[in-house]
Amino acid sequence: MSALLETVGLTRFFGSVRAAEDLNMRVTEGETVGIIGSNGSGKTTFLNLATGYLKPERGRILLDGRDTTALPPRAITRLGVARSFQIPQLYLGMTVLEATLLSLAARAGRIGAWAPLQRDDRIGEARQTLAQFALDTHAQRLIGELPEGSRKLLDIALAVALKPRLLLMDEPTAGVSTEDKFEVMDTLAAVLRDSGITTLFVEHDMDVVQRYSQRVLVFDQGLVIADGEPAQVLGDADVRRAVLGHV
């Protein structure tokens, strides 16, 4: 099966800090891949490289075999790669609905200056999307007034609204309380399964990765030190040491 996302010899340093070195990995259509690693192991940097926010010093990024290394985030997004953020990147001055509508308009490539954003059909779809994330009750609220957990979900919802082929999530459960964690992930998993979106998510929480990913990549100081079945990978002592810093 051909790779949806593939990186070849991806390398990026911040001064002396190694964020990625000779990083080779591939994600195939329909997979749900988790990336785990301690802080500073290069997880987020990898997402930034993959989406064109940062440029690698060496190596290439291939999307469906097409080289996207030189492209800016918006071009890569248009090619069907959406992304959510560790710290939600939202429009605090807008209502939840407006933000979602904007994502939909963007997906359709309809950023015009005349036809109104709030079209009935679009509103319908927006409400559906929000409903999937149990955010529909918040539709008319200002994003600035949302609780942290809902912001996190909305951040992902806005990405999903783009109907991407590949969704990259940066610590979807960061900032979510341990008890809600699995609830949130269940909601997500459901949505992603229904919409059949290939998913790559970064996590530092082993249980989450164990439970929601079919495959796990372990990052350590910019290197992939393990790649495989969650159960077997996460069982490995070296991995636990790398991720947790102890056995």
Binding site: T44, Y53, Q86, I87
Partner: protein, 298 residues
């Protein structure tokens, strides 16, 4: 050859002036990240007060040598009174608000100061040339130069050097740098950030007023000098990169030389020299020569 010398000298003289009037603007921005649109008015205040001192003093007929001290005094007085007043009373309240609000605030202050000057000193030109004429002239490249502009060159070098020393060599400098690089962290380190801000703004004000005071003996003062100076010094600072003293120096030098060259070779371009350079620089290097671009952490 001789022509080049003359062009160079005029350029240098003008550059020194440019640096003096723009150093304050870039310094304040460097620390507070607020562009002070009232900069030009602080300049005007310094100029008018300096001129008043000089003229009062000249009337007594005692040695002109002291007038230079008076100019400095005027600058300091304006800087340490008006500066902190603006920062404590107004700016302080809007640090948390959007950048455009901060701009609007300094804009409204500049409007007010504009009339304060007009009401205090009237509208007729004021000219305190004593410190200028007292230094007499020197013959360079076959023509007469007044010494005064080269005094400005010396002052400019002194000011630049002083700022550099303070920032790089002193404890205060370390404090400043830490406040600039990360406000929150500095707070946790127990640095009294609000005080640093007031100090920095006052320092910027003193520099602005000094630029004005030292200008008073060269140009006559008329209402509205402030606005002119603001635009000019912004151009200089933008070329060098907002917040960078070295940048201001480089910008001043470029503009100064360009303008004097224009006067000699394309008199019709005199007016635009400064803007042409700014447009050219920014087109290729948006953040100016020494300006740094901020990347959002995500």
């Amino acid at each position: 050859m001789r022509l080049l010398l003359v062009v160079g000298l005029d350029g240098l003289a003008y550059a020194s002036w440019l640096f003096l009037v723009s150093a304050g603007l870039t310094f304040t921005y460097g620390v507070l990240r607020v562009l002070n649109l009232a900069h030009g008015n602080l300049y005007a205040l310094g100029a008018y007060l300096g001129a008043t001192f000089v003229m009062r003093y000249a009337a007594t007929g005692s040695t002109p040598a002291l007038t230079y001290a008076l100019l400095l005094l005027a600058a300091v007085i304006i800087g340490i009174t008006v500066g902190p007043l603006i920062e404590r009373l107004f700016l302080r309240r809007v640090y948390s608000r959007d950048e455009e609000v901060q701009l609007l605030l300094t804009f409204s202050i500049s409007l007010i100061l504009e009339d304060v000057v007009k009401l205090t000193w009237g509208v007729s030109p004021i000219f305190a040339e004593l410190p200028y004429t007292f230094l007499g002239r020197v013959r360079l490249g076959g023509i007469n130069y007044a010494w005064y502009p080269f005094l400005l060159t010396a002052v400019a070098l002194a000011v630049g050097g002083l700022l550099w020393l303070v920032v790089t060599r002193t404890r205060l400098g370390k404090v400043l740098t830490s406040v600039i690089t990360d406000r929150e962290v500095s707070l946790t380190l127990g640095i009294n950030v609000p005080r640093v801000y007031t100090l920095a703004f006052a320092a910027g004000a003193v520099l602005a007023a000094l630029g004005g005071a030292l200008t008073a003996p060269m140009f006559s003062l008329v209402p509205g000098v402030g606005a002119e100076v603001l635009v000019t010094s912004f151009a200089v600072v933008a070329i060098g990169g907002l917040g960078s003293i070295g940048g201001a120096a480089l910008g001043a030098l470029l503009v100064g030389l360009a303008r004097s060259a224009a006067v000699y070779f394309f008199p019709e371009l005199d007016l635009f020299a400064i803007y042409l350079i700014m447009a050219a620089v920014l087109a290729f290097r948006p953040q100016g020569f020494f300006g740094e671009v901020e990347v959002r952490r995500i």
